[in-house]
């Protein structure tokens, strides 16, 4: 994985004092760095994901869905594949289960009286996709936070919403 990283920045000055400045340089024109850079999880003796990530020049790393080349992409793809796996089960699972165990799956449910397969397909599958979407978007916001990524916005009205994800996002779960 190291092969894919560029070292032009890290070779010169890579002690923690310069991180903030380096960070500032990377985000020229995009406002000041939004968080202290070195407080992230630090693995034993080596560099933290965040530090490695800061040295990556994305224009130089290979993009391959199956071979994530950077810590950020690895974290992101882990969320993507996990979500996709659950999605496959909630989307195609109920009808497939009904194909193989029709009697069990068509049993009426207590109280609401839906045949089980009907309920799982018509209500659970779409709702699962919605819940997964909220989960993913929050996870991804979390990853953004871990790596100190701040979205740019040039609409002053939107700035508040971007800075306070919780306020804007809570309503989605309803």
């Amino acid at each position: 994985m190291q092969d894919n990283l560029t070292h032009d920045q890290s070779m010169t000055d890579n002690d923690s004092h310069d991180d903030a400045q380096e960070d500032g340089e990377r985000k020229t024109n995009r406002g000041p760095p939004d968080r202290p850079p070195t407080e992230q999880v630090r693995t034993d003796g080596g560099k933290s994901d965040v530090e490695i990530e800061r040295e990556v020049d994305y224009l130089e790393v290979e993009i391959n869905l199956l071979k994530p080349a950077t810590p950020f992409m690895r974290d992101h793809l882990r969320v993507i594949w996990l979500g996709f796996g659950i999605w496959v089960v909630t989307t195609f699972g109920p009808i497939t289960a009904t194909r193989f165990a029709p009697d069990l799956m068509t049993t009426p449910m207590p109280i609401i009286e839906f045949p089980l397969h009907y309920f799982l397909i018509a209500i659970v599958a779409p709702s699962s996709a919605l819940i997964l979407s909220v989960w993913y978007a929050k996870k991804r916001d979390g990853i953004d936070e871990k790596y100190g990524i701040k979205q740019v916005t040039d609409d002053p009205d939107d700035a508040g919403a971007t800075a306070e994800p919780a306020a804007a996002d809570g309503g989605t779960d309803e």
């Binding site: 018509a122 779409p126 997964l132």
Partner: protein, 561 residues
Amino acid sequence: MSVAVAPLQAEGLLPEGLDVSFKLLPGIIVVSMMTLFLAIGFVFKVADTDDMWVAGRSIGNIENGMAIGANWMSAASYLGMAALIALSGVYGLAYVVGWTTGYFVLLIFMAAQMRRFGKYTAPDFVGDRFNSDSARALAAITTFLIGFVYALGQARGMGLVGMYILGDINNVVPLPGLDAYQAMMVLFMIVTIAYLALSGMLGATKNMALQYIILIVAFLTGLLATGWTEGYSTLLPQIEYGLLISELGAEFSDPFAGGSYYLWIATCFSLVFGTCGLPHVLVRFYTVDNERTARWSCTWGLFFICLLYLSAPAFAAFGTDLYGQNVGAVYGDPGMTDAAADVIVVLAAQLAGLPEWFVGFIAAGGIAAAVATTAGLFIAASSAISHDIYATIINEDATQRQQVLVGRLSIVAIGVLTIIFSLDPTAPIAALVSFAFSLAAIVLFPMFFLGLWWENTNRQGALAGMIAGLIIWLTPMFNEGHFGSGWGIEAIATWMPAVGSALIGMPLVMLITVFVSYVTDEPPERTKMMVRQCHSPEPMPRNKTAAEVVREKNGNAPADD
């Protein structure tokens, strides 16, 4: 007021049980709604092409989510889905699942990356990613075809619902050669085209948030009122219809009564990946500030969509029961026709004895759904013609004025084409629309997906994949007689039905694209860098494309497109 089944209409599309007559109040509701659309369109009227195509890219999470919802929820969602659930039972649920869950795949694999790529249209993406005007042209043709096929379903919906509101125009002004359905379809298509020709997408986007609100309110209050007055449900019809299911007959709820397991999977698969390849959906991600907004507006969009999708089966259940009580047997021979099923939402409200203005409001929601989606589709199709074929290939020095003119002319052209093919539609609304999803899933999705996630996908691979994809999509379309008279080859009809041809087609196109890319030269470094830029976590300023970032990085390297 009578159920007018005039003899001269008998050969045309006529939903039995539907009250086809002129109704003043519903008429006023529809007319004022359309006037409102035009007025708002006029207020936001713009001549600048940048504004026309992507609304100046300044729309926030929730508004964009609503626009996604309105753009998305067409007559196929509003009318066609309940129709299929009523007629084909559990098979119809493949549409509910496919048309909602696809958004998650779109969200995790494409929404933010497309936003970073920063191109106006799907053909722009394909053309720039693969450095090829031929690829761009193929994507533009595909976009145009999708708009056209998709609009067929919308036109059918407008025509059928229009009959409830305005009745048979032939009773007032005899229109030789046009039956009641055709006259209404033509009328509402003309209104849609006039509206689009007047306003650009900025107006349309403002309208779309409004259209979403109109149609979701109409649908949900209609469902609540129908369930309440008939005693089916109280406050949560979306769950309470479960109590009714056992009374509706095996056709409604038996797992494979309306279609085989294979057909269910194939249809759902096509709809999911078609969702991810649809140009008029993707264009929504160019209208946002940044990737985060792209992700959250996709999520909000799904939320707004789910409100309707969780309710449609309930409407289908109530409609099926009411039809059985008041009109005739739903299943068996003759059973309910496609035409009646396609208006089951309006029919259910009418048979429940709701006031005429209220039924008219529900019908107006159906028309709003059709107009909103047709607007989005025609914009995508016309920009494919004016921007990607005319301004990029035919006349590279085109002025903005010329582009806007070509764009408007192509809206008229696709409208006329849609009208001609919708005079005698070959399938119910939802099936017509699903053909467009198969096309998007087979031809465009692999290009987007591989283009964004595998940097070595190259021009040769894309061209081979897209040409193969178009052939694969056309095969069942011809076989089943949607274009031409039909070949009737049994094996193709069974294993590659037009409604679900992407189950075989999409992986095949992926394989072809990967294989050809693999055996030919890798794409240039600049192209790879664009792909990499789409995945960088570093924020990108608004109005900047991946290509520009790469160009800056490389100093004054010449542009290649």
